[in-house]
């Protein structure tokens, strides 16, 4: 009597789930065995690995012929889990588990998750010359593996949580327990709890939700695809968020300087490293300020230049029919179009776009007298120096930042540029990345903390 009641309950459950998942062509529902020893299987073909199911669930069942033994066999698998909660079962089914309903009313969820992820590929967006070239891929386990292998310490913790009402994206918070600052972790967890979105598909998106202020201009977290950068940052006392299904990790808290560090810098001889870093900052200054300086000097302060250059610019601008700022804007926008176009184009067509845009358009524009010669030099210098910045997030920001400077230069001339600079410095200094100051000229403070911690660790 009791058995039949149980039976009924289990069937109800099965039926209920079947209804919930109806109209899904990938739903697989099977009954195994004889009438008295019946085991029901339910899973989604698309997320569960069919071969695993066949090999580890169906075949053993028929080999054993004994339901009790089979149940013990299933329960002993590391990924198996008994459950009766319909919500939990449903979630796990959607996550790729196989629901196994035994006749004695027990329900096991067997882990047969099928992960469709590419193998560990070379880094695409942060290419370096020397050093490891592997990158994170779309699987959380693989990514954790990449980190663990590089950071073999029991202090390395990895907590997981999920974000996204629909996407249920898994996120691993990875950090070195002894080196992080607890306030940062607390702050991070608070903010993660506060996130309420349906779908989370990219690490950069997470970065956007985490930082709170929508109108913020600079990235306050690093989004990276390089495991070595993640590991390096963990050792520096930072927290790495691994986001399942994205292939990128988020590192926080970040300071401004981090965006100008390439992973090769560590490999270089010290003076060479300094030189490279210096070049990047120089590139930053050039790409932001060159166009606005051009506007300020041609329109307000031609006496700043030496005579030769002043006459040269005046001469080459003689045929240009509009004011300097329009000239600059036209050429810069052209350049932005070119960058965007070559970014999205298939690799085979990309070079054509650059040739047509860069070479033919530029030459023709000067020949026609629509832009001055100097302008072409300037725009290319701006474009090139923009690409010096190693992290794309910052690169995109910098691309935008130069336009306000042009506006200021048209309004105030040289004065406007200085105003803008002070404004930007004040703004950067007022930014905080998870409670840590974002822009400080000496990062020494942090290094010292880590040093003292290293000593503590060594005893």
């Amino acid at each position: 009597m009791r058995g039949s009641q149980h039976k009924k309950e289990s069937d109800n459950l099965l039926q209920c789930i079947g209804e919930k998942l109806s109209k899904s062509t990938d739903l697989e529902q099977r009954s195994l065995g004889t009438s008295d020893q019946q085991v029901n299987l339910i899973y989604l073909k698309s997320v569960s690995h069919s071969a695993t199911v066949n090999r580890f669930v169906i075949s053993p069942f028929f080999e054993m012929k004994d339901e009790k033994g089979f149940e013990e066999y299933i329960a002993s698998f590391p990924g198996s889990k008994p459950s009766h909660d319909i919500k939990e079962i449903l979630e796990l089914l959607l996550g790729g588990h196989v629901g196994i309903f035994f006749s004695d009313n027990k329900v096991y969820l067997f882990d047969a998750v099928r992960v469709e992820a590419g193998s560990v590929a070379d880094a695409q967006t942060e290419v370096i010359v020397q050093g490891p070239s592997d990158s994170f891929n779309e699987s959380l386990e693989v990514n954790l593996n990449l980190i663990r292998r590089r950071y073999q310490s029991s202090d390395l913790k990895a907590e997981t949580t999920t974000i996204g009402h629909k996407s249920k994206t898994k996120i691993a918070i990875v950090y070195d327990e002894t080196r992080i600052e607890p306030e940062v972790l607390k702050e991070l967890k608070k903010r993660l709890d506060g996130i309420s979105v349906d779908i989370l598909q990219a690490a950069a998106e997470l970065d956007k939700y985490l930082s709170g202020n929508k109108y913020r201009l600079f990235p306050t977290t690093i989004v990276t695809e390089r495991p070595d950068r993640a590991v390096f940052n963990i050792s520096e006392g930072k927290i790495v968020l691994l986001v399942d299904t994205t292939g990128f990790a988020v590192v926080l808290p970040a300071v401004f300087n981090d965006f100008f560090t390439a992973m090769d810098d560590k490999l270089q001889v010290l003076p060479v490293g300094w030189f490279l870093k210096g070049i990047r900052y120089l590139g930053l200054i050039l790409t932001v300020l060159l166009p606005s300086f051009y506007v300020a000097f041609t329109s307000y302060n031609p006496e700043v230049w030496k005579v030769q250059i002043a006459l040269l610019v005046a001469g080459s601008r003689a045929t240009v029919p509009y004011p300097s700022y329009v000239e600059v804007l036209i050429m810069l926008l052209m350049m932005e179009f070119l960058t965007e176009a070559s970014l999205r184009l298939p690799k085979a067509i990309g070079p054509t776009a650059t040739t047509v845009g860069g070479l033919i358009l530029g030459t023709a524009a000067t020949e026609a007298g629509l832009v001055s010669n100097i302008m072409i030099i300037l725009v290319s210098a701006v474009a090139i120096s923009n690409f010096v910045i190693p992290l794309n997030m910052m690169g995109f920001t910098i691309r935008v930042v130069k336009y306000p400077f042009i506006l200021l230069a048209t309004l105030f001339g040289l004065l406007g540029i200085v105003l803008g600079l002070v404004g930007v410095i004040m703004y950067l200094c007022s930014l905080r990345s998870f409670g840590k100051p974002y822009f400080k000229i000496f990062g020494i403070d942090r290094v010292r903390i880590t040093n003292s911690q290293k000593e503590r660790e060594n005893g």
Partner: protein, 368 residues
């Protein structure tokens, strides 16, 4: 979203604000040099000449184009305003590098012209000043063949960035001119630019000023001695007669120091000590140099230079000018602030000069 709209609206409202005075570089004409003369027919009026560069599109072509305009009036400012209606673009003095005073004008008073250059905001303080003969207008009309940027040749010569002639006095920037006009115990000295032909000018003399009035002209030789006294390591060669033969030595290093000495009884004098390290550049004797000859030659050179320096100094002294700043030096070494200027005025009347030239000809050049 509303906030963004508000910001955009404000930006749009700001943009017209700049429109009124915004002037691009191609709408400006760069004045390269200014010449100030007395008006030809009326000594109470001024005549101003501007040398204006016309920019060209192709930097590879090396032909310079200039426009020179002259106008007369009562004040410089007035004249410049009048000129604006004669040209199509805005005049810009930001690149103006030289102000030339016509000789006649300089002999009268250059105070107002100096004041104008200092006061006008867009004229640099490092503008070169010089006296022009016969007039600033004619000198500005000279077009040297080697010139690639308008009026650049005068600048290069005056600044000594190009040629390093020993006959050109150290650059008298506008601020130096003004400072010496104002200072107690120092007077301006300006280079004299002469027109030789339509394509050549000559700068080898200088003009001594008594404050803002040009007084005496220094001959090339005297100008060179002045340079030797006021500059370190002057690049020049000097001649020396030794046993009836001519030799020339090239100065490698030179330095001049002076002290104002006031003995309690006796005439005050200025003691100049000039140290020169030199090498032989030319010899008319044909002998091979030996140590003794070199030593004797040095001594002879020192003696002859003594004489030349003394002659120049006394000429400067007689002109009652103080281009070397002796008065300032005297004041700066005395702490009795209220009397020192009177004392100096008194004793500068009867000043004498003791010159000790220490010429050391060390090398004989590539041959003995």
């Amino acid at each position: 979203m509303n906030r963004i709209l508000c910001i955009l609206l404000i930006l749009l409202l700001i943009l017209p604000l700049q429109g009124c005075k915004f002037k691009d570089i191609d709408l400006k004409l760069f004045v390269m040099a200014v010449g100030i003369d007395e008006a030809e027919n009326n000594p109470n009026k001024l005549s101003v000449t501007l040398k204006i560069a016309i920019p060209q599109g192709d930097p590879k072509k090396a032909e310079e184009q200039v426009q020179i305009i002259t106008e007369e009036g009562d004040t410089i400012a007035e004249i410049v305003r009048v000129m604006k209606s004669r040209i199509d673009k805005e005049l810009d003095f930001g690149h103006c590098k030289a102000v030339l005073f016509g000789e006649k004008y300089a002999r009268k008073n250059i105070r107002e012209a100096a004041d104008w250059t200092m006061r006008r905001r867009d004229i640099q303080l490092t503008i070169y000043t010089a006296v022009a003969r016969p007039s600033a207008k004619e000198v500005l009309n000279v077009q040297p063949v080697t010139e690639r940027i308008p009026a650049n040749s005068i600048l290069l010569a005056l600044s000594k960035d190009g040629t390093e002639s020993p006959f050109i006095v150290p650059p008298a920037f506008a601020y130096v001119l003004q400072r010496r006009i104002d200072e107690r115990g120092a007077d301006p000295i300006l280079a004299l630019v002469e027109k030789k032909s339509d394509q050549e000018f000559l700068i080898n003399k200088s003009y001594l000023f008594d404050k803002s009035k040009a007084v005496t002209e220094l001959e090339p030789e005297e100008t060179r001695i002045y340079n030797l006294l006021s500059l370190k390591n002057l690049k020049t060669s000097l001649n020396v007669d030794y046993q009836g033969l001519k030799y020339a030595y090239n100065i490698e290093k030179s330095s001049a120091k002076y002290k104002i000495i006031t003995p309690t009884n006796g005439t005050p004098y200025i003691e100049y000590k000039i140290k020169i390290l030199a090498e032989v550049e030319e010899s008319h004797s044909g002998d091979i140099f030996n140590e003794k000859l070199l030593r004797d030659l040095s001594a002879a050179a020192g003696n002859q230079l003594n004489e030349r320096v003394e002659r120049t100094l006394s000429k400067i002294h007689q002109a009652k000018c103080d281009p070397l700043g002796w008065g300032l030096r005297y004041q700066s070494r005395h702490w009795n602030n209220s009397e020192e200027w009177k004392e100096w005025e008194d004793l500068s009347e009867r000043l004498e000069f003791h010159v000790k030239c220490d010429v050391d000809i060390k090398y004989t050049g590539m041959v003995r």
